[in-house]
Amino acid sequence: MTKTKRTCGLDQRWLHIYLDGDFAPAEERIIETHVARCADCQRELAWLRATESVLTTVETPAPPADFTARLMARAAAEGALIQPKVDRSRWASIRRVARQATAGFWYAGQVLPKVSVPESWRDRAGVALGRGAATTGRGAWRASRWLLRRQRRPEPEPKRGRFSLPRLPGLQLARQLGR
């Protein structure tokens, strides 16, 4: 298990969260007050900052110059550039479900009359089928509404102060640091 507690009592992970700017302002101040007095944490934070800066300067390896030409030749030879025709209209999925349902009912109509089972069983099977169809229909309708709503909704912005009071109470933090 990774050691997370520092000798001064501060959790190592909190320095990372602080560095990412993920603390709420109140906790950020507590960490800053601690770091201002703790040489060990100052040093750790400085090293972490230096590491981050140096990391962004690591060179990214580049592919060979003829990479695109060779890839395109291979893709053309393997037929990867031919896209299947896909209907993207709103009704396409409804039509697909309707097609599958029709096929299902046709199959049931072909097979079920040929199966010899007692009348009462048939009644029960009929009721179960009816309920199943109703539930599936309701589910499909809800799923389609949810998908439509999700497509219209903009992506939420990542929140600042993710690790705020309920997750890391300032009081608990202050107590842990012996203040």
């Binding site: 990412d20 230096a50 590491t51 893709a75």
Partner: protein, 193 residues
């Protein structure tokens, strides 16, 4: 007219070969970089990048309209490379990464002043050491580090690329940053000795 991701995808779907080539040109650096950092070999990385683009071309009709291409392509490359690593069999345990853990108390006993990033960069051996340190990280951290620091992805984009919860990605990056920091300090202390 600018080649946005949406336009690229739409033109590719219509069979425009120029759009395919442009898509490759735009993202080959990212895909190759992710593959190289995971596989550690340029020939294998090139193969992986090619397979990634071919898989992307074949799956383009399933791509969600309006979504960014970079996380999707990174995810395909990451998954392909993980499969390749799995095929290679069990990986050797990085002793260096373990050593870095043990170096902490030594560094604490001899507190040298922390150098500035500029001073660190002046030491040419540190660049190579950092490269080696990235390669010594566990595979699941390597892609996260590559995307975050080398390609400037946000945490949310890294999470989308790796198909992991945001919190998991943050933890992985924090651990990776901690390991790299220890390695960097150890190298710096050695270089000064």
């Amino acid at each position: 007219m600018e080649w946005t991701d949406t336009r690229l995808v739409s033109e590719c779907r219509q069979g425009n070969e120029q759009a395919y080539a442009r898509l490759v040109d735009t993202y080959k650096g990212l895909v190759y970089s992710v593959s190289y950092r995971l596989l550690g070999d340029s020939a294998e990385a090139e193969d992986a990048a090619q397979e990634t683009f071919l898989a992307a071309f074949r799956g383009l009709h399933t791509f969600r309209e309006g979504a960014p291409l970079a996380p999707w392509l990174s995810r395909i490359a990451h998954n392909y490379c993980l499969r390749q690593l799995h095929r290679r069999g069990p990986t050797t345990v990085s002793l260096e990464a373990r050593l870095a853990d043990d170096l902490e108390p030594l560094a604490q006993r001899v507190p040298d002043p922390v150098p500035t990033p500029e001073t660190l960069l002046e030491r040419s051996e540190l660049g190579a050491e950092l490269e080696a340190a990235i390669m010594a990280l566990p595979a699941r951290y390597r892609t996260a580090v590559t995307l975050r620091y080398l390609h400037d992805f946000s945490y949310a984009e890294v999470a989308e690329s790796l198909d992991l919860p945001l919190g998991t990605v943050k933890t992985q990056l924090h651990r990776a940053r901690g390991l790299l920091r220890k390695r960097l300090e150890a190298t710096w202390t050695e270089a000064r000795a």
